[in-house]
């Protein structure tokens, strides 16, 4: 898909990417909410520039009128004037920088909120295709680039243009001949800078890439340490890392070479400006067409002339970068929400838990292959439905259709007779507790993790859910019980423990419909039996419906309905006993989990 490719920064991405200009303008448009700050920054900037340009004039007065004509008053006036100008300039410089920051932080804040909101709402299908690292980069790095460009970049650019025009005008006004001579240095400096920026930009991106490869190797080395050691591949890893490290070193050296070639050259030209001014200016002084004060002032203006040239040279590169970043950011903000409430969607009333699949077909967006091909069944309230099948048979896809994580591509999924597409997502999902296979825990306490879906739950309710999920025993053994911090930066839990917390989380919302998607794979057999018993009691007594995807026959044996999914279709359905009689596939699975002698008995019983 396109959104994947654009994340890769190719070195030749020097010019604006397609749509970059529009995206950039759109990003700049975010400044509209901060009109006052932006406008204030601009006005301050112009005033600051005016003050800047006034200073060398005062130096000229001091030298020519004061020192040249020996007037102490003129010197004093100039000196006081200089300080006043500096204070004036300083105040506006402060205002400019502060207000620009306000505006740019505001833009970043709005962009991040928009991105995060979108990320939270984008459908499952989006996440099937995107890497989390990419999204993270966009939220952090890309937004930061845009912020710098909209805040500092644009304002500085305007400032540079104003300063440039002002200095050039003043120089021409002071002495147009000298002005033209001194401006000779601008073209070579500008060319040198542009050349540098054009080459160093892609080089920096290459360095970034090289570095990220290097860090990937490092990351794999740390996370896969057991694999590496057991296959005795330390030397290989070391070699791989050294090579990449060498590559990075070479690239870094290239950039350093560029810097050390370029900057002395640029400063050389800048110095040449002084030389030209003194030389030609000196000549004019001897001709009495220029004063010493004017010469010194001229030299000061030269600095003002060069600064905007530097600024413009550098900003030129950030335009393309900010353009590319804007494209990536808006790509997410504009990503379509595939699953959303239909206009006029109704609230789903409290359900009894009847689920019906009517000739359901399903294909993942962008994929050719049909995962489900005409699945029909009915789960009555209070029933436990078990789903069996091999890898890729479509089990997870099937249950994911009930809370409408995806939309069917054909047929209907009905909950209590309502097509899930006709009701609001919130009212549907509120009544469904689902435990996803990855049993993800968030950084936070055990309590926070259990009450993830119901923030107003009381401690008693949390404990009851944990107890039913057979999690209470180990939770109480944790260093701080329910207040123990878990997740990436907390206490490490085993897979089975994580799964039990995830189950408690689902139970806490008191779902009318419970879906366990291979949620007990890491729980040991003994605990699983207890867990099953507890779930059975809980679900059956409340007449709530449960869907269980599992690998083990022992898990599914007691189900009211067992669906065997094979290649996107219901290959067989019925109770354990019925399936033993009718389904070859079920027998095969069953036998694979039993002792040979057991299997014989089972088969013998069946016939």
């Amino acid at each position: 898909m396109a959104r994947r490719d654009t994340g890769q920064r190719s070195p030749e991405q020097q010019r604006l990417p397609p749509g970059g200009t529009r995206a950039l303008w759109r990003a700049v448009g975010y400044l509209r909410s901060y009109r006052l700050a932006t406008g204030g920054a601009l006005v301050s900037l112009v005033l600051m520039s005016v003050a800047n340009l006034a200073a060398p004039m005062l130096i000229r007065v001091a030298i020519d009128d004061g020192i040249g004509r020996r007037q102490l008053v003129a010197i004093l006036a100039a000196v006081i004037g200089l300080v006043v100008v500096a204070v004036f300039r300083g105040s506006f410089a402060f205002l400019q920088s502060y207000l620009a920051e306000r505006a740019s932080q505001g833009v970043a804040y709005d962009l991040r909120n928009a991105l995060f909101g979108r990320i939270q709402r984008l459908s499952f299908s989006y996440y099937d295709q995107v890497e989390t690292g990419q999204l993270l980069t966009r939220l952090t790095n890309d937004v930061e680039q845009i912020r710098q460009f909209t805040g500092r970049g644009i304002i500085q650019m305007i400032a540079a243009v104003v300063m440039l025009a002002g200095s050039v005008g003043l120089l021409l006004y002071l002495n147009w001949r000298l002005a033209l001579v001194s401006m000779l240095i601008i073209p070579p400096i500008f060319v040198a800078l542009m050349y540098f920026v054009r080459r160093v930009g892609p080089m920096f991106r290459e360095i970034q890439q090289s570095l990220s490869h290097l860090n990937t190797i490092l990351q794999e080395d740390i996370q896969g340490v057991r694999v590496i050691r057991s296959f005795v591949r330390e030397d290989y890893e070391m070699r791989r890392y050294s090579e990449q490290n060498e590559d990075l070193l070479e690239k870094n050296k290239t950039v350093i070479g560029m810097f050390s070639n370029n900057f002395p050259l640029v400063f050389f030209f800048a110095n040449l400006g002084t030389l030209l001014v003194v030389w030609y200016g000196g000549y004019e002084i001897t001709q009495r067409t220029l004063t010493i004060g004017e010469l010194v002032a001229f030299n000061s203006y030269l600095a003002f002339l060069l600064q905007p040239v530097f600024t413009l040279g550098f900003l030129a590169s950030s335009i393309s970068r900010a353009g590319a970043c804007s494209v990536r950011v808006f790509e997410i903000i504009d990503a379509p929400l595939e699953i959303h409430d239909r206009p006029g969607a109704r609230e789903l009333p409290a359900i009894t838990g009847r689920v019906e699949f009517e000739d359901v077909h399903f294909r993942y967006p962008g994929s050719e292959r049909e995962i489900l091909r005409g699945v029909s069944f009915v789960a009555e309230p209070g029933q436990t439905v078990a789903i069996l099948g091999s890898i890729g048979s479509g089990k997870s896809s099937l249950v994911n259709l009930i809370p409408r994580f995806y939309d069917v591509t054909g047929g209907r999924v009905l909950v209590d007779g309502h097509d899930v597409r006709d009701v609001t997502l919130a009212s549907l999902r509120r009544q469904i507790g689902i435990v996803l296979p990855d049993a993800l825990l968030f950084s936070g306490t055990v309590r926070d993790n259990i009450r993830y879906g119901r923030l107003d739950a009381t401690q008693e309710e949390i404990e009851a859910a944990a107890r039913a999920a057979q999690a209470e025993e180990f939770i109480l053994k944790l260093p701080e019980g329910y207040d123990t911090v878990v997740g990436e930066r907390g206490v490490g839990l085993s897979g089975g423990q994580r799964q039990r917390i995830a189950i408690a989380r689902a139970l806490l919302i008191d779902p009318r419909l419970l879906i366990l998607d291979d949620s007990m794979s890491a729980v040991d057999a003994h605990t699983e039996a207890l867990l099953q018993e507890a779930l059975d009691k809980l679900m059956r007594s409340a007449r709530h419906t449960a869907f269980v995807i599992a690998q083990r026959i022992s898990t599914v044996r007691n189900a009211d309905l067992i669906l065997i999914i094979d290649d996107g279709q219901v290959a067989a359905s019925g109770t354990h006993e019925e399936l033993l009689e009718t389904s070859e596939l079920y027998n095969e699975i069953y036998n694979s989990q039993l002792l040979p002698d057991d299997a014989r008995i089972a088969a013998g019983d069946g016939v």
Partner: protein, 609 residues
């Protein structure tokens, strides 16, 4: 590791000492570049002198030539000035290039030394540290040193030197004017330190707020599915907005401080200019100074502000680099696994006998995980480990390839204590398949070939076929050349496990360890693997850990673990007849209807016919 507590008491003293030591070590890194550094120093001197001569020549030109109308003299001075600029630029170029290269080489050496150290650290080191923290520490800390080396050091050297030269030149040219214009320096230093203390605090705040924004981002993105399943979307967005706003406000505040800093410095620098003009003008009145020198002074005054600012800027950089260097050195100083002493024999051929001889093991002193464990796996035998989580099964698996050393007793392979042979020669004969398969970035083929260096494509495919992975691999978009997303993102858990099985098969081990390797594979796939392994395991010793008892029934020997001890041992039938813990576990799993009543009764057990 694990410093005693009393160390904390005089930590601050020690800290200062540590800083000094770190600084000395960091400077020591420059030692291989001694000659480069000397050349650089020389070049810095040259370029600083040239920088100082420039304005003086300008002053000279004004006084000696321009004021006197000496145009040929002016031309001579200007040509001289031209060469001064050329020499200065060339010296700057040569100097920044040399020091930049040296800096990058030092960084590269840091990177590879850290990586090398990681290869030799005991596994314990990684157990106690989250991978993410370790990675970000290494990356960020090296980066702070990078900034110091690539920018700070060059700038600092150059700036310090030009400062000295400029100040000296000013003193020589006109002592009084120089001293008067220096009065602004202390004011400037005070202002800088006033602001930088505040700025540092403010920026520390922004680092906290920004990490509040980004720290949980990764898991919130990974957890979007959970959030949607549990209707947490709006709540999450509201919380994010709060953190986001806090970060914005902290940044605005911090920038407010720096925004005030630069204008303040600017006012001070103008003040210095004003002083030079005012006092210089007075001196010119009294014929104690020439106009040319006054002009030169004006240029000097503007030049000496930059180095002062730079020095204070680089100072903060040095501080953070020192902290980074300290952390890097703490990794480099970490005790590596004791290397195989020279002359350690290699394990050149293995039949595949594994023996645990009264093994006791503890991860941390005082926390014994295995108590007096003894058993033997004969070549060609399969031994299964069964028991609850935390019973010590994985620990046993980790001791065979000597990921850890035993506290008491010995682990023997073919009668050799694993500590008496080199690690690589030991591990070469062992393959390990873990519950969480770890795949590297790269293609499917790369990942399978990881099991044996230099494996051909035919061998890779044969290994995949052997574990029935060939079918699904062939169906992938690019077959064996399909790139696996980061950590196997695009493959299912079962598929990833099949790949890691193929990898182990390719390694052709004499000892195979399966640590819950089939927990996440559906039973039909597992059956396929087991059929394949049945032939593959012939003549090899294998250790199988599994929750699912269907996997272990066929083992030659089943060891039932509880709290670090072997409590039962025997074949499936022996253990079933005994009616102990194993029978209980087994019954729960397979005879579920009676087991539901929590009665591990014999009536439910099958009657072996």
């Amino acid at each position: 590791m694990g410093r005693p507590m009393w160390h904390l008491a005089n930590q601050s003293d020690e800290r200062a000492q540590d800083r000094g030591k770190t600084a000395r070590r960091l400077i020591g890194e420059l030692r291989p570049y001694k000659r480069t550094m000397l050349v650089v120093l020389l070049l810095v001197v040259v370029s600083s002198v040239m920088q100082a001569i420039g304005p003086w020549l300008v002053g000279l030109a004004i006084d000696q030539h321009i004021m006197r109308g000496d145009l040929p003299g002016l031309a001579r001075t200007m040509i001289l000035l031209f060469f001064v600029y050329v020499v200065g630029s060339l010296a700057t170029r040569a100097q920044s290039r040399r020091i930049g290269f040296a800096g990058q080489e030092i960084l590269a050496s840091f990177r590879s030394r850290i990586f090398e150290r990681f290869q030799h650290l005991p596994l314990r080191y990684f157990d106690s540290r989250p991978a993410g923290d370790l990675i970000s520490r290494v990356v960020n800390d090296v980066d702070t040193i990078n900034q110091l080396l690539s920018q700070g050091l060059t700038q600092l050297l150059g700036a310090m030197f030009s400062l000295v030269v400029i100040l000296a030149t000013m003193l020589v040219l006109n002592l009084r004017l120089a001293l008067v214009s220096f009065t602004i320096i202390p004011v400037m230093l005070l202002t800088t330190s006033f602001f930088s203390a505040r700025a540092r605090r403010a920026f520390r705040r922004t680092r906290e707020t920004v990490s509040n924004v980004t720290a949980n981002l990764q898991e919130e993105i990974v957890g979007v599915r959970q959030a949607q399943a549990f209707n947490r979307t709006e709540e999450n967005i509201a919380r994010f907005r709060e953190r986001n706003a806090a970060n914005r406000d902290a940044n605005i505040q911090a920038v407010g401080i720096t925004s005030a800093f630069w204008p303040t410095i600017d006012v001070l620098s103008t003040l210095a200019t004003a002083i030079v003009i005012g006092y210089g003008g007075y001196l010119v009145f009294h014929d104690e100074l020439t106009v040319g020198l006054l002009a030169a002074f004006l240029i000097y005054v503007q030049q000496f502000f930059r180095p002062i600012q730079l020095v204070s800027q680089v100072y903060t950089q040095i501080q953070s680099s020192m902290a980074g260097a300290e952390r890097i050195y703490s990794i480099l100083d970490e005790e590596p696994e004791p290397p195989d002493p020279p002359g350690t024999p290699t394990l050149s051929s293995v039949r595949g006998q594994v023996r645990f001889d009264h093994v006791t093991f503890e991860y941390k002193p005082g926390q014994t995980v295995l108590h007096d464990v003894s058993f033997t796996i004969e070549p060609g035998q399969t031994v299964a480990l069964v028991g609850h989580t935390g019973a010590g099964k994985t620990t046993i698996a980790n001791l065979i390839p000597r990921f850890y050393d035993v506290a008491e007793g010995a682990v023997l392979v073919d009668g050799h204590d694993v500590r008496s042979v080199t690690r690589p020669s030991l591990r070469k004969w062992i393959a390990l398949v873990l519950q969480e398969p770890f795949l590297f970035g790269g293609t499917v083929a790369d990942n399978i070939a990881y099991g044996r260096e230099g494996a051909t494509r035919e061998e890779v495919e044969a290994a995949a076929r052997a574990v029935n992975a060939h079918d699904f691999i062939s169906k992938l978009p690019e077959g064996y050349d399909t790139n696996i997303g980061e950590r196997g993102a695009t493959l299912s858990q079962g598929q990833r496990q099949l790949i890691s099985f193929a990898r182990a098969v390719l390694a052709d081990p004499r000892i195979l360890i399966l640590d819950e390797a089939t927990a996440n594979i559906d039973t039909r796939t597992e059956l396929l693997i087991q059929r394949a392994l049945g032939t593959l395991l012939e003549g090899r010793a294998s250790l199988v850990i599994a929750h699912r008892l269907s996997t272990v029934r066929n083992a030659d020997l089943i060891l039932v673990m509880q709290n670090g001890r072997i409590v039962e041992r025997g074949s499936h039938h022996e253990l079933m007849e005994r009616g102990g813990l194993y029978a209980d576990l087994y019954n729960r799993q397979f005879r579920d209807a009676p087991a539901r009543r929590r009665s591990p009764s014999t009536e439910a057990a099958p009657n072996p016919s």
